[in-house]
């Protein structure tokens, strides 16, 4: 038996928007990222239903995938349970499975094999039956299933902070709430009931009301109905007496229900109650952890959660939250296909710090540098006929060839759908090749070139002077200066540059590509550093990629680049459910 309840695997079939979901969360804190409507909250709701502390949880038609109530939904978890869960008290003995790191299996070892240490786990599930009833089960290793009692679920004690604005369940004495588990006095409600029953309520009534009651009593008597009428506490359907009891705290000398404090305080208080409960064996789910919390309190809360012994499931839309998930937290990305992938901190740390929004998009397209980011943004804006971010597609800066390779590999390993646009710097060809095989059209690596090179190469020679020109930002002169320096000229007029190029038997196009990519080939030693920075005045700057993109169209390079770029664009379009296009709208 383990010290706390741990979910090793969570499978969801046909629950709300998740058709098939299979996840092996880590111990400790799990932070689920992803764009909107991907099902992050559904995952937390699934856990909440599975560990529901009551049998009165209801299931709605909308809980079934595509509202198909003819097909059952299943939420199934493979869990380690603490002794306090009381799983041993099931009517029929619940037998453990062995956790092999991937799934729950039968403990098998044949004669002669050494005895392996087992990791005992239980497989528990809730099914939404075709009668719209939830049915909780524990799966036995022989394939049969027994009812999973509500007391086991209550003992496991999932603490759930939903994003619902009015949620204060754990601050009240509701069955299975954090406060209920903290107080742990099973006969308390009955005693309150008895105490309240002794309060002579009728005495508090005003005279008219007392009279009305007496009149009623008389009438009842005449009709041989029960008499001796008085007011008192009755129990029945609806809220229990426990739900009327909650934590109070002093505020400016008065006792105020904790539930009327701000959302952030309520949530932090609920977590404190859960943490103070004996055993602290519970699982915690927090939807939109940033809700109601200022960044400094959010940082503090994440820090606390990382240190708790129990397993925590968090969703967030907050870049601040992603940024401060420390070494002990685990980041997961839920993609638009309901696939969840692990983002190892070491591999994505740089990107996470620099551009946390990469992991909050529905779909991220990673450009190697500023040129690629701008170029992609430009073509996608055209392809989407608007801002792609409106549909959750975010273009991110991967900051360099090696960093992008690491990032894309990590995402590919996690089977997460991302796109990439990168140069070919002739490094790690094997890794790029493998990545390309994995990503298909979603990755465009310019063959033997940088983006600048590929695009400029496609621009007709007679349009090159227009390519250089950028008077709006005052870059025309600077660029001519770069070209002149590179052919060793003092004057920077086009005619002189062309003449010098003719002598050196070099094309203007080649010279422009060298300047735009910051090539240092042939540079005098003292100028190499300066030459390297040339690119920043061409397209390797904010807005530079967009300039390159618009000139690609305007100067007629698109037709010859179309075959390269269109598959990437269409891969991105289809990933977010758009129709593919055959050309860029003009």
């Amino acid at each position: 038996m383990s010290a706390t309840a741990i979910v090793h695997r969570l499978r969801i079939l046909g629950f709300r928007g998740l058709k098939e979901f299979d996840w092996r969360p880590k111990q400790g804190m799990n932070v689920i990222l992803g764009g909107g409507d991907m099902g992050k909250t559904t995952v937390l709701d699934a856990l909440a239903l599975l560990f529901s502390p009551t049998n009165s949880a209801t299931v709605a038609e909308t809980d079934y995938w595509q509202r198909e109530t003819d097909t059952e939904f299943v939420i199934e978890a493979t869990v380690s349970l603490p002794e306090s869960s009381g799983i041993e008290g099931q009517r029929r003995m619940a037998f453990p499975w062995h956790w092999n790191g991937k799934e729950a299996v039968q403990p098998v070892s044949k004669d002669g094999e050494p005895v392996e240490p087992d990791v005992p786990v239980y497989v528990i599930r809730v099914r939404g039956t075709t009668d719209l009833e939830p049915s909780w089960e524990v799966a036995q290793p022989d394939g049969t299933a027994d009812h999973l009692t509500v007391s086991v679920r209550r003992q496991i004690g999932l603490v759930r902070l939903s994003s619902d604005e009015r949620n204060d369940r754990d601050l009240r004495l509701v069955y299975g709430s954090a406060l209920d588990r903290l107080v742990a006095d099973s006969s308390f409600r009955a005693r309150i009931g008895r105490a309240v029953a002794k309060v002579p309520l009728t005495k508090e009534l005003n005279a008219d009301s007392v009279k009305a009651l007496e009149d009623l009593n008389e009438k009842m008597d005449k009709n041989s109905l029960p008499t001796g009428l008085t007011l008192g506490l009755t129990s029945g359907q609806g809220p229990s007496i426990g739900s009327l009891i909650g934590l109070l705290a002093m505020h400016q000398g008065k006792e105020i229900p904790l539930s009327s404090w701000g959302a952030g305080t309520r949530r932090m208080a609920a977590l404190e109650i859960a943490a103070a409960t004996a055993g602290n064996a519970s699982l915690t789910t927090i939807d939109e952890i940033e809700r109601g919390l200022e960044p400094y309190r959010l940082r503090k809360l994440l820090g606390i959660l990382e240190e708790t012994k129990g397993q925590v499931f968090v969703t967030t839309h907050s870049a601040v939250a992603i940024e401060c998930v420390g070494k002990k937290g685990h980041l997961w990305y839920l993609d638009s296909k309901g696939h969840i992938g692990y983002l190892p901190a070491a591999k994505i740390a740089a990107q996470q710090r620099r551009e946390p929004e990469t992991f909050l998009a529905k779909f991220a397209a990673v450009g190697e540098g500023k040129t690629e980011v701008g170029l992609l943004s430009f073509v996608l804006r055209k392809a989407f006929n608007g801002n792609p971010l409106d549909e959750g597609v975010r273009v991110c800066d991967g900051q360099g060839n090696d960093a992008v390779l690491d990032l894309l590999e990590t995402l590919a390993d996690a089977h997460i759908e991302f796109a990439g646009l990168v140069d070919d710097e002739r490094t790690s060809p094997g890794r790029w090749k493998k990545l390309k095989e994995n990503m298909g059209d979603r990755l465009l690596q310019w063959p033997s070139a940088a983006s600048e090179g590929a695009v400029i190469e496609a621009i007709p020679d007679d349009k090159l002077e227009e390519l250089i020109r950028n008077d709006d930002e005052g870059l025309t002169g600077i660029r001519l200066r770069h070209l002149a320096d590179r052919v060793g000229l003092q004057p920077k007029d086009m005619a002189s540059i062309k003449a010098a190029l003719a002598k050196q038997d070099k094309t203007l196009k080649k010279l422009i590509i060298e300047a735009a990519t910051g090539s240092t080939a042939g540079a005098p030693e003292e100028e190499a550093a300066a030459w390297k920075k040339h690119g920043q005045q061409w397209f390797k700057r904010d807005g530079g990629g967009e300039e390159l993109g618009s000139k690609m169209i305007a100067l007629g390079a698109w037709p010859s680049l179309k075959d390269k770029l269109l598959p990437l664009i269409n891969a991105i379009l289809t990933a977010v459910g758009r129709q593919p296009i055959t050309g860029l709208p003009t």
Binding site: M1, E83, M93, F95, P96, S109, V115, P120, P141
Partner: protein, 508 residues
């Protein structure tokens, strides 16, 4: 050790307590009252009582009523079957391990116990999970544990269970007749005693409460003698309740029991009184003795159904062949009763089946033809059960040609009729066995039983007949004699042959 000391030791914090429990010395009382106390104080989980016979399970359930939601009583075999069934995929056993185990008249249970012991040894997590549910385990009649069953018990102990073992090495009659195995079992008992704390129950309660205390004390002396490999002395001055009749079986055939007129009168006077348990050494003698009394003494069938097992196996093998079904039926009826054999009815039944029941007949052949029709209509356990039901009706109504048939094993015959309602005969066999496990049948007023089936029973009066050489001077013989001697609380009658009596008895 006094009863109070034993009770105290049971309730101590010792993890392993061994109680040597001679018959009738309040073992079940001690065990059940301990069980009730534990059930009332257990913080979590339940108490598990492991017995061997369904009779013992029934007794424990009866005595722990009220605490039943905290006490689970089952046989060691059913615990092993439950565990093996759950992990059947890993253990290469069919899903319904119990059904499978009934093969070869229950031989599969030993294999199951072995697989279970192996599983628990290799995967301690299962033992620990069991101990979470059953933090305290009582084992009854430990002497009847096979080595694998003992290993299961010790795996639970290793998993952290508090173990309370009751046993009596002198009541070890189910573990075979081999002296070698007997020696191993004796050593096992001694080493258990050395490993934990042990005590012996010494007060003959069965005889103190309304029985013959003198008889009880003599039985304890007999036990001491048998334990020391000495013969049991029957003193010239017989203790109150002990009676010896010298009489020889004059039966001509092996399956016959007969006495001459003089002895018959003496023996019958005792044998036919109420609350009498007649004990004998073999199934053949049980049948013979029942016949000897003209069935005024019924047969105690216990919880075993040997012929039913054979019938089920034959039906399974018949696989739709009507002739094979009919042969299985004939073998079954001749096994559970008399007056129905191949020559008396079977040949005709087979002939009807071969010919397709085409002849017009009357009387007995017509009745047989009706049975054949049922088998032909459904040549399976269903048809067989329906034909048996029809046969049962003929016998009950004394139809000519069937009036000489006597069913001795009525429960077994009844169980065969119930096979009809199951999908397969094997399902039926295991389900009926399961039902028997939860069903407690009181002893009829007069009954004859083998010693094996009478183990665990008690009765005011018992007769052991005949006390002959079958009680040999071996460990097994001594155990069997002791079990027989210790059943009755008020009177025990030993019927001894004039020659060739048991070497274990020394008559003064």
């Amino acid at each position: 050790m006094s009863d109070d000391d034993v009770a105290h030791l049971l309730r101590s914090d010792e993890t392993l307590v061994i109680i040597e429990a001679p018959a009738g010395c309040g073992k079940t009382f001690q065990g059940a009252s301990y069980a009730k106390d534990v059930a009332a104080t257990l913080e979590r989980g339940r108490l598990l009582v492991l017995a061997h016979t369904h009779a013992a399970c029934g007794e424990f359930r009866k005595r722990t009523q009220g605490a039943s939601n905290r006490v689970e009583v089952k046989t060691v075999a059913s615990l092993a079957t439950e565990i093996v069934s759950v992990y059947h995929k890993a253990l290469d056993v069919p899903p319904h391990a119990e059904t499978w185990a009934w093969k070869d008249n229950g031989e599969g249970f030993n294999e199951i116990a072995q697989k279970c012991a192996d599983l628990l040894t290799r995967h301690p997590m299962i033992g620990r999970a069991l101990v979470c549910r059953y933090p305290v385990v009582i084992c009854d009649e430990h002497q009847d544990c096979t080595p694998h069953q003992h290993a299961i018990l010790m795996a639970l102990h290793r998993g952290g269970a508090k173990l309370r073992i009751f046993g009596d090495p002198l009541q070890r009659i189910f573990s075979g007749t081999s002296p070698k195995v007997a020696r191993v079992d004796a050593e096992r008992w001694e080493s258990l005693k050395a490993e934990g704390k042990h005590a012996t129950l010494e007060v003959p309660h069965r005889w103190k409460q309304g029985g013959s205390l003198e008889l009880g004390e003599w039985i304890l002396q007999a036990r001491a003698a048998l334990l020391n490999n000495q013969p049991v002395v029957v003193p010239a001055k017989r203790p109150a309740g002990l009676q010896v009749i010298v009489a020889d079986n004059r039966g001509q055939a092996r399956k016959q029991f007969a006495l001459d007129a003089a002895h018959r009168k003496t023996v019958d006077a005792v044998m036919l009184r109420d609350e009498m348990l007649v004990l004998t050494s073999s199934n053949i003698l049980v049948d013979a003795l029942s016949a000897y009394t003209n069935r005024r003494i019924g047969i105690w069938e216990g919880h075993t159904r040997e012929m039913l097992g054979i019938l089920v196996e034959a039906l399974q093998a018949a696989n739709g062949n009507a002739e094979a079904v009919a042969s299985a039926l004939v073998a079954f009826v001749s096994g559970v009763g008399t007056g129905f054999s191949m020559s008396s009815h079977g040949n005709r039944l087979l002939q009807e089946i071969k010919e397709g029941c085409c002849k017009t007949t009357k009387g007995k052949p017509a009745c047989i033809q009706e049975m054949a029709k049922l088998i032909l209509a459904e040549p399976s356990h269903v048809g067989a059960a329906r034909a048996l039901k029809l046969l049962g009706g003929y016998i009950a109504n004394k139809i000519a040609g069937f009036d000489a048939i006597k069913i001795d094993y009525r429960s077994e015959f009844g169980d065969a009729l119930r096979l009809e309602s199951f999908a397969t005969p094997e399902d039926g066999l295991s389900e009926l066995a399961r039902r028997r496990a939860h069903f407690w049948r009181a002893l009829p007023p007069r009954v004859v039983s083998t010693i094996h089936k009478a183990k665990g029973l008690e009765c005011p009066h018992a007769m052991l007949i005949p006390c002959d050489k079958s009680f040999a001077d071996t460990a097994y013989g001594r155990c069997r004699l002791y079990v027989a001697l210790s059943r009755a609380s008020n009177s025990l009658t030993l019927v001894v042959p004039s020659f060739g009596g048991s070497p274990l008895l020394k008559l003064e």
